[in-house]
């Protein structure tokens, strides 16, 4: 047990140590030293996680460090929970994290603030590990806020560009809106259960009746938190803007790990969600709507990272759709495979951007497959994976989700298949416009250094074979990941799929055929000839609407930002300057004015004083007479 405790503490402590070393030494460390230390810390953390994982006995271990907040009946420990779910997330976070740290050494080595960058990246790893390892909601919330803060810092890493700062602030504030739900959910659960420990909450919550309004409220509020963090409707507009950050940040935070925190949270509380069918429906439909939304907007974007960002939004929608149907295993499976191929896509995109000296507009790319060979091949693998071409990893996870959605609700299934076709279209549009045809830019492309391409290759291998983790029964597999995760402490609800093998085969065939068809269509449009989109202003109405992200940003600006600014301004100019201050000043003025008037009584004429005195005495006498 001591060994387990120690390792469990080491996992988040190592990146934290890295924060201190790179942070304090940021002026002295060279770019490679800082990057090397930061990478080593996360790599060591990965090894520690791996040891924990290999030694995992299927039990839930609570590593209690100290009592954090203790008031009256509230005793919230600072504790970690080591079980299948947290172990899996630890592996994903540190594993992908190591690769991206490594990649960043190459990507960021020219930046003067590279050590600061690595300190913040390490801080992110630390926060993310706290998030997944927390043994209660509040410790998770530490990480939850911590990753939000790191995201803010890293999006605005190049702080001299106001638009980037705005994007960072937007991300943080939208996350905070979700946090309102999270905080309220925690307050409710504490009020109801008297504890926030996952084990106790799930145990007590599991005893309640299905559809209990308290559970429904709690799960809805938690889901609000998840929508903020995982960029689901309606809180998704921050994620595309978050691409302002350096590309490794987009890969690590805004694709592979942080944005899946919402999925993690829902899976963590799956016992409660199982008891709230109403919330599950909402989760399903929010997921489906977001998948469609992201996929449509991705169609006409011209910024390579923006396309990937909307693709992330869309894929996260798939994950939530899976959670909505109660298929937590495939949800987590998709988290994992998505982490592989989306991190790869971003890193490869970063490699392209790096190769072109910072160019992000796909209209100014093309023909790069000859120059950047490794990048091209890995990008291709990732694209095939995200489109769900068998036997790459994305095929298994996405097909699992489609199958369980079909079992739950065929309409949702149809929408998701349509979104999958759109995904194939915009991904291949991206691939063809970037790597095929002739080069349309002015820079001199060159392949990235080894330190960047090695992570690409590793991730490409993982994207290709990641499906092995969870091969479903119809392929003769044992759904290893599902089984493994089901051993988690709070019992991830498992629904054996109630579809016949024939139906499953049919579904697979349909989606694969449709995707292939779409790829052919994309090929004819963008590879055979090169069709470039102009500015949104020149497009027909519907296309323009989609290209401008369904006007969601404008809608929010009109609905919230403008009124808020207006209220803020007028609360001050009316409430403060016209009412509150004049009121106090007025009290003083009124007193002065009254004195001004009253002093006229002092005429200086003694006879008048005598007369006034007499009147006063008479009045007093009369009063005394009547009161007696």
């Amino acid at each position: 047990m001591v060994k387990l405790d120690l390792l469990a503490i080491l996992v988040p402590a190592l990146p934290l140590l890295g924060v201190f070393i790179t942070g304090f030494g940021r002026r002295k460390l060279s770019a490679y030293a800082a990057g090397g230390i930061a990478t080593a810390m996360v790599a060591l953390s990965f090894i520690a996680s791996l040891i924990l994982f290999l030694g995992h006995d299927g039990q839930t271990h609570i590593v209690h460090l100290f009592s954090w907040i203790h008031v009256g009946a509230m005793d919230i420990p600072f504790a970690f929970q080591i079980d299948a779910l947290s172990l899996w997330m630890m592996l994903v976070v540190t594993g992908i994290g190591t690769l991206i740290h490594l990649y960043s050494i190459g990507y960021m080595h020219d930046d003067p603030r590279v050590a600061t960058f690595f300190a913040q990246l390490n801080l992110f790893s630390f926060s993310m590990l706290l998030l997944v390892m927390g043994a209660n909601f509040l410790v998770t919330f530490i990480g939850w806020e911590g990753v939000g803060m790191c995201s803010y810092l890293l999006i605005g890493f190049w702080y001299t560009t106001p638009a980037f700062n705005y994007a960072g602030r937007k991300a943080f504030v939208m996350n905070r809106i979700g946090d309102v739900g999270m905080l309220l959910a925690m307050a409710l659960m504490f009020y109801q259960f008297g504890t926030l420990n996952y084990v106790d909450v799930m145990q007590q919550g599991g005893l309640m009746a299905s559809g209990n309004p308290l559970i429904v409220t709690a799960t809805l509020l938690l889901f609000l938190g998840a929508t903020g963090k995982s960029a689901q409707l309606p809180l998704l507009t921050w994620l595309p803007d978050a691409m302002a950050g350096p590309t490794p940040v987009s890969a690590l935070i805004h694709a592979a790990t942080m944005v899946t925190a919402g999925v993690f949270l829902v899976v963590r509380s799956s016992v409660l969600y199982e008891l709230a069918p109403y919330t599950q429906d909402i989760v399903l439909w929010v997921g489906v709507a977001t998948a469609l939304f992201g996929a449509t907007v991705g169609l006409f974007q011209n910024d390579i990272k923006k396309v990937l960002a909307y693709s992330t939004v869309s894929q996260l929608g798939y994950m939530f759709a899976a959670l909505g149907t109660g298929d937590y295993g495939n949800g987590m499976f998709h988290v994992t495979t998505h982490a592989f191929f989306k991190a790869l896509l971003f890193l490869a995109a970063g490699s392209v951007i790096h190769a072109l000296g910072g160019e992000q507009d796909i209209r100014k790319m093309g023909g790069l497959k000859g120059v950047t060979k490794t990048t091209y091949v890995t990008f291709l693998i990732a694209t095939l994976a995200i489109c769900g071409i068998p036997p790459l990893s994305g095929f298994f996870s996405k097909d699992g989700i489609l199958a369980s959605t079909f079992a739950a609700n065929p309409v949702a299934y149809a929408v998701l298949v349509f979104a999958a076709m759109l995904t194939a279209f915009y991904m291949f549009r991206l691939l063809f416009l970037t790597f095929f045809g002739t080069y349309r830019g002015t820079a001199h492309p060159h392949e990235s250094p080894k330190v960047m391409t090695v992570p690409l290759v590793v991730l490409a291998i993982l994207s290709a074979i990641g499906g092995l983790l969870n091969i479903p029964h119809i392929f003769g597999g044992h759904s290893w990941l599902n089984t493994f995760l089901a051993s988690a402490a709070d019992g991830i609800g498992m629904h054996p799929l109630e579809l016949s093998a024939g139906t499953e085969w049919t579904l697979m065939a349909i989606s694969t055929a449709l995707v292939l068809l779409t790829i052919w269509y994309a090929w004819s449009l963008f590879c055979k000839k090169t069709t470039l989109d102009g500015e949104p202003a020149d497009m027909p109405f519907l296309k323009r609407l989609i290209a401008k992200r369904w006007m969601l940003d404008e809608l929010y600006a009109w609905l919230f930002e403008k009124p808020f600014g207006w209220i803020s301004k007028h609360f001050f100019s009316i409430g403060e300057e016209k009412i509150a201050v004049p009121l106090t000043a007025g009290t003083g003025k009124a007193t002065l004015g009254f004195g001004e008037w009253l002093r006229k009584v002092q005429t200086g004429n003694s006879s008048f004083y005598l007369f006034a005195m007499m009147v006063g005495v008479v009045v007093l006498l009369i009063l005394t007479y009547f009161s007696a």
């Binding site: 002093r599 006229k600 002092q602 005429t603 200086g604 004429n605 003694s606 006879s607 005598l610 007369f611 007499m614």
Partner: protein, 109 residues
């Protein structure tokens, strides 16, 4: 002492009341309407003495010498007050060459 009391009681109490009321009213009206400071001071004395008279009368009728002690106090204070008042009057006459009290109206506002 007793015969003084008896002597006072010869006159009915009502008469004392009426007399002192009259004296007081004369004093008060005089103090209010006259502008000569000397007369105002005299009127004030008149008011004081009307009260003294009343006190003595009541004292006799109630057989309570306490009120008479009060009379002595009032006389004492009145004497002191007149001293001050008359000195102010003298100064006023010297400085303004007048005893009209409405001249002294600068102490206002």
């Amino acid at each position: 002492m007793e015969h003084v009391m008896t002597a006072i009681r010869v006159v009915p109490l009502d008469s004392y009341l009426v007399l002192s009321f009259l004296l007081f009213s004369i004093g008060m009206v005089g103090a209010l309407v006259r502008r000569n400071v000397i007369i105002v001071i005299m009127c004030l004395e008149l008011m004081l003495n009307s009260v003294n008279l009343l006190l003595v009368a009541f004292s006799a009728y109630h057989s309570d010498p306490g009120a008479q002690i009060m009379v002595f106090f009032i006389m004492l204070v009145a004497a002191a007050e007149v001293t001050v008042g008359l000195s102010i009057l003298v100064l006023m006459k010297r400085n303004t060459d007048s005893v009209d009290m409405n001249i002294l109206n600068r102490l206002k506002w």
